[in-house]
Symmetry: C2
Subunit: 788 residues, 2 copies
């Protein structure tokens, strides 16, 4: 049992770690050589092209020699807070701005709760001496918790009343926040003001895409599962269907091509190109010795050839293959997928088409809002309806086993990966292993490593599961992964820490226990785990957030790339790894803190300040990162908010059930009826919010669409929408940066009302997703292949 | 424990009872005097105006003297089966035809299951002698059940394989049926053929409404929660909103008026009119003595007045009041409810409006398909969104308490209503009560009567709950009541009989029992209750269905009315009580048999023949009743099928869980993993069906709408749709039969393409619902009030 002193020491250690990280960050960020690691966002936006250097000496290009700047090492904090929210939305998109609101929501919920808890509950808890007389070992923390109240005491009414108060406050804040976010989303989708501004700004790459996408979001519909027809091609089928059923609104459509193989080739070419660059750099630095390599496995044997020649011809061969594959994709009808992006003349028409059922068979001609071009996950566009059901079933079962039985394979690996089996498999290592220090190190280290590796790869595994399930946009994939990750953490971190057993043992336990016993079992051990969770918050939350700002991994990778691969400015741009917010891992982490905060608010309020520090710190750090670092992969217009809302509500209900279990063991069972009504009311609150605000995230009201259409008609009567939308949904492999410079420029020029820009980064513009199907216009493909 | 002999005796008794009912029915139905009780449907349709008599003697008007007709006393059965389904749909509507398919579904599911079970499972069960050696008391029935298999035997594999087989068969039949019903519904909604036929048929009352309604279903949308506006009236608001947001499709709209008070007055007038008729009849039969009555309470004291004069002036006063109230309703803006029926020029426009969100705030301007005019439940049209959530919560809580605690008030009533308290309250009854025979009768009878009364009123209570919840159509009300009634029966009849305890005791038991224990507890007692359920099926199913055809209550009431109230043919028509299918009580009863059949299919297959007899008998009886008796209150185009489907699937899952529980006590636990996959697969099947077929019951595909529109434009280019739809949604009180004869004729003439008919029954034409708000056109109101 940790005492207040122990907690203090732990806090000091973690605060010092965090400070060290911040200090290191402050040092590193003002070095010009790291500028592209700590300010990539500005480079991508084209607002920064070289480090801000004071001197002009050679050294000052790499090291900051201005000593005054070292004294202001925390000045990024106020800077991060200064940018007002509307500007932030313009700068980094609505997703990022709303993501920050989640941290702020934590502050808004727990600030007043903490104040109330400290003024009311801590004195009530402290003023007893149950624990002193109980003869049990206890800590000072426990004296401040509900454990210190004697069994059957009337003081439990305080906790009951506060539970009500906290619930109402949380619901109130949640409702207001939902209201605000829904309004922000609708305003973002409808906002017309942004248009002229953003086309006169010097940069076009990102911002123009946001603008375009918000229009596309409104005018484009994705039609899937087009039924096959022996007499008509897919494009005729789509055209006829929409001409017949939406005669006044249909404008045009774009087909989806299956470009998986093409995508593979492009990726391979990129890899080979990297090697070519590496050897060319090597040759440049040491012009006396022309680099050579062996062609066999891993360069260990085979004929020795000239490396630069070898890779140059390799790249050329791949380029030819790519062109051939491109033509094949565009000419072969088999590579046309039964899906299409359909454009409409008006937002009204698109809103209607996205919200209605098209054909008698509801599993064909599925229509939905087209995701943003960057947001499309091409591979999944052509999965038939029946397989979707089966895939979801398989994914659900797989996730169930992953959550409850993940310890089994890890235990097997652990039992295999012991000293003896290593010695048996690789007997020549025996003398090294037998050294006592190394042996004990391996014995201590090996069992843990399997688990660590698994946890490291968990988000990737979950993302693969979501991909398997058939979602068609990256945002949906991330949302799905986030909810699974949260569930995994809830079972294995939250419940796992409280009950201390593997998830499968818990499951077994719960199945064989009565329903009313479960909240009791957990409720009783809740107060005892407070100190553990306080430590967890400090390590995972405080130090983790401070580590985030340091960006150690991107820093190292950037410098490695910079020294070995970079030849041109363009390469240097590609070496930057701005990263993204990482909704699928970040949001579940926040939600865990919401859960801890709500559960412990009534039980052990001393935990709350730690959570508040986390939220405040994370808010500042992530605001800074969003402004300066992260690159937005897609814009979903805060489509994730209903998920955030429902998870906080779920945490609220869990906290109420656990309190009920805890109080029922304290012989305060007369409070049970009052406590049962709390979750019922909370569920009711959730249903109300769902009905009132969720439609804003799912549908698009016709009134808005009509208003927008009318406005646009009045403002720009002769807007060439068709030309504007023509090539919006083109697969990235068809505009890979290495080949399509002129093409992509010409495309921009083709769309009317767009001004020429001095765009510096092209890499991020057409980046919908990694590989899979694609959309392209045939003439464009031929243009491209004729060019080089 | 009942033996096979006992069951045989019970079966004989029930078969005799059923036969007696059928015989009585055969005698009564051919008496001309009962013609209107047993063939009201034909009277309502106007295809029958007087009993089919052979002779012309006075007596033959009341008694059938043709002896030959008595010999063919079961010839109604083949007659009932002869009418083909398409004709049945024309005759009685799609709802009725699909309702019959539920019984037929039972036959289709359980026929093959029974055959398999009897050829495979009964021999396997019989070939053991576990029970003989167990020393327990057992019956012959038990020897045929799973109880006879020794613990841990490998023979359980038979049951496991059969459980899989039965599941797949049931799912296959369910899927096919869903497919057929969905196709029938779409065909019914789209069917154009019906139109010319039905307007040349001699009757117009019912059939024409079906036709009209199926059109209305497609062209009308109901807009609710119109937000208040200080500057505009509701009608302007509605018109402006739809003109702006659906400019090419909006046609017209009808407002909804709050006519609750008017409706009350009309009802009172009807009651008084009945009394007037009664006294006039009395006077006619005995012209010497003019009837008189006292004006005081219950006619016991007060001034003696002439009854006919008194009631005549009363009726006149009420008529004046009604006219005044009508004008008030139509002139006062406060009686306009914020809801309207909006008509569109095309089905496409209506389909779009019904499926999309209109305004930014999803709780205002709610649009949905307008129910059929007859189907509207007017009172609930104006409940705001927030109250809907609260009302649903209250109803859910009330239903929870009703289901689990309904025994408490009944027990209290029972404890109060004993002999002693009666003697104390009414001491003058003491000498009578003290007679031994009467005393024992009361003591035996009183405790049960409270429960019986409660169960009798349960459907009414559930219906009131549904009304409170705010559904706006009668069909939705009935669907909701049906699902609640089913749940009540599942808990209190099915589980209650198996566990023998009140629902609350069960709940308490389950909460304090482990989750895995529950299926075991129930599973073990399942086989022991087989004989009880066999008896239940015979009494409730066989005899109950046979009693249904006799229509004892309507028979008595008709003859009472006929002798006291009837003056004219019109009155006689009103005295008919054709009744309806009663979906809210009938369907849950069928579902209970599905549940019993599926649960016992593997456990005690001897129960299956009894269920099959029930389904066959009920199918024939209800087919006869639907053809000859029941009057369709509304047409929802089989909107209830998804409910039917989901309940059968739920029964399937319950049966699988109970089998799992049962087998786990038989030490056949190696089968558990195989049994767990069954419910998972079943749920998956359900989700597939939901995605594939349910949209046909919720949405209306645009392709269909467009096809229909195009066809109609080609066929009848100059159809005056506006005139046709103008007065479709008029509240019944505005066309009460006593006043609106000429008006309603003229209304029919106003709508084009309608031919004059010799309609004999007007009463059923404009019968949307009991009371509440109303829709009317102002000129029509004034017309009416000027008339008399």
């Amino acid at each position: 049992m940790a005492t207040l002193n122990d907690i203090g020491v732990a806090a000091a250690i973690n605060i010092l770690t965090a400070l060290a990280f911040f200090l290191a960050f402050a040092m590193l960020r003002i070095q010009p050589v790291n500028d592209r690691v700590y300010f990539p966002k500005w480079y991508i936006k084209g607002l920064r092209s070289s480090p801000l250097v004071n001197g002009s000496a050679f050294a000052s290009k790499f090291v900051n020699l201005d000593l005054r700047s070292y004294t202001r090492f925390l000045n990024w904090m106020p800077a991060a807070l200064q940018m007002p929210e509307p500007e932030l939305i313009d700068h980094a998109g609505l997703d990022s701005a709303v993501y920050l609101r989640i941290y702020f929501l934590g502050l808004k919920i727990f600030g007043p709760i903490e104040l109330t808890a400290f003024t009311v509950m801590i004195p009530v808890n402290w003023s007893n001496n149950t624990l002193e007389h109980s003869g049990l070992t206890y800590s000072d923390i426990d004296k401040l918790s509900i454990s210190n109240i004697p069994i059957g005491s009337h003081k439990f009414w305080t906790h009951l009343v506060l539970a009500y108060g906290f619930t109402f406050w949380t619901c109130y804040v949640l409702k207001r926040e939902y209201e605000i976010v829904a309004a922000m989303r609708l305003h973002f989708l409808a906002s017309d003001q942004r248009r002229p501004d953003q086309f006169t700004v010097t940069s076009i790459s990102i911002t123009s895409f946001i603008r375009e996408s918000s229009l596309l979001l409104i005018n484009k519909v994705l039609a899937r599962n087009v039924p096959p027809d022996p007499d008509e091609s897919v494009t005729e089928l789509v055209q006829h269907f929409f001409l017949v059923n939406h005669p006044h609104h249909y404008l045009s459509h774009q087909l989806v091509y299956n470009a998986n193989k093409l995508s593979e080739l492009v990726n391979e070419k990129k890899k080979i190109q990297n090697w070519l660059d590496f050897y060319q750099n090597k040759y440049k630095r040491n012009p006396l010795k022309r680099p050579s390599l062996k062609t066999g496995f891993l360069g260990l044997w085979g004929n020795r050839v000239d490396a630069i020649d070898f890779y140059t011809s390799f790249v050329e061969r791949l380029s030819r293959d790519i062109c051939g594959e491109r033509e094949k994709v565009s000419s072969n009808t088999k590579s046309i997928m039964p899906a299409a992006f359909v454009s409409f003349k008006t937002r009204w028409g698109a809103a209607v088409c996205a919200q209605t059922q098209q054909s008698r068979n509801p599993t064909t001609w599925l229509t939905e809002w087209a995701p943003e071009p960057r947001d499309v996950y091409w591979e999944n566009l052509a999965i038939p309806f029946v397989f979707l059901t089966i895939r979801r079933l398989i994914a659900a079962i797989a996730f169930f086993f992953l959550t409850f039985f993940f310890m089994i394979p890890i235990a097997i690996v652990q039992s295999l990966a012991n000293i003896e089996s290593i010695e048996k498999a690789l007997p020549f290592l025996k003398p090294i292993i037998e050294v006592k220090f190394i042996k004990s190190f391996i014995q201590g280290f090996l069992p843990g490593i399997a688990l660590k590796i698994f946890l490291l790869f968990l988000p990737t595994i979950l993302m693969m599961m979501s991909k398997f399930e058939g979602f068609i946009s990256l945002s949906a994939l991330e949302r799905r992964s986030a909810s699974r990750y949260y569930f995994f953490q809830f079972i294995n971190v939250f419940l796992g820490s409280i009950i201390t057993g593997t998830a499968f043992q818990q499951l077994n336990h719960f199945i064989h226990q009565s329903t009313s016993q479960i909240p009791k079992t957990i409720g009783v051990s809740i107060p005892m785990k407070a100190t553990f969770f306080i430590t967890y918050i400090m390590v995972d939350g405080w130090a983790g957030v401070a580590g985030e700002i340091l960006r150690l991994k991107p820093l190292i990778i950037y410098h490695l790339k910079n020294s070995f691969l970079v030849k041109t400015e363009k390469d240097r741009e590609e070496a930057m790894d701005p990263g993204t917010i990482g909704f699928n891992t970040g949001e579940p982490q926040i939600q865990l803190y919401f859960l801890l905060g709500l559960v412990y608010a009534v039980v052990t309020p001393i935990l709350l300040p730690f959570i508040i520090v986390f939220f405040a710190l994370a808010y500042v750090v992530y605001r800074h990162q969003i402004i300066n670092v992260y690159h937005q992969e897609y814009e979903s217009a805060a489509a994730f908010w209903p998920d955030v809302h429902v998870r906080v509500v779920a945490a609220l209900i869990v906290s109420q059930l656990l309190l009920m279990g805890l109080l029922s063991t304290k012989e305060a069972s007369q409070s049970t009826p009052l406590l049962i009504t709390l979750p019922v009311l909370t569920i009711c609150f959730h249903r109300f919010c769902k009905g009132r605000y969720e439609p804003a995230f799912v549908r698009y009201p016709l009134q808005e669409a009509m208003m927008k259409d009318t406005l646009e008609r009045a403002k720009e009567a002769n807007l060439n929408l068709k030309g504007f939308l023509q090539n919006a949904y083109i697969h990235p492999v068809f505009k890979s940066a290495d080949e399509s410079d002129s093409e992509s420029e010409s495309e921009w020029e083709r769309s009317p009302a767009l001004v020429a820009t001095k765009r510096t980064s092209k890499r991020f513009t057409p980046m919908p997703s990694k590989d899979g199907g694609s959309v392209l216009s045939l003439d464009q493909v031929n243009d491209e292949c004729l060019k080089p």
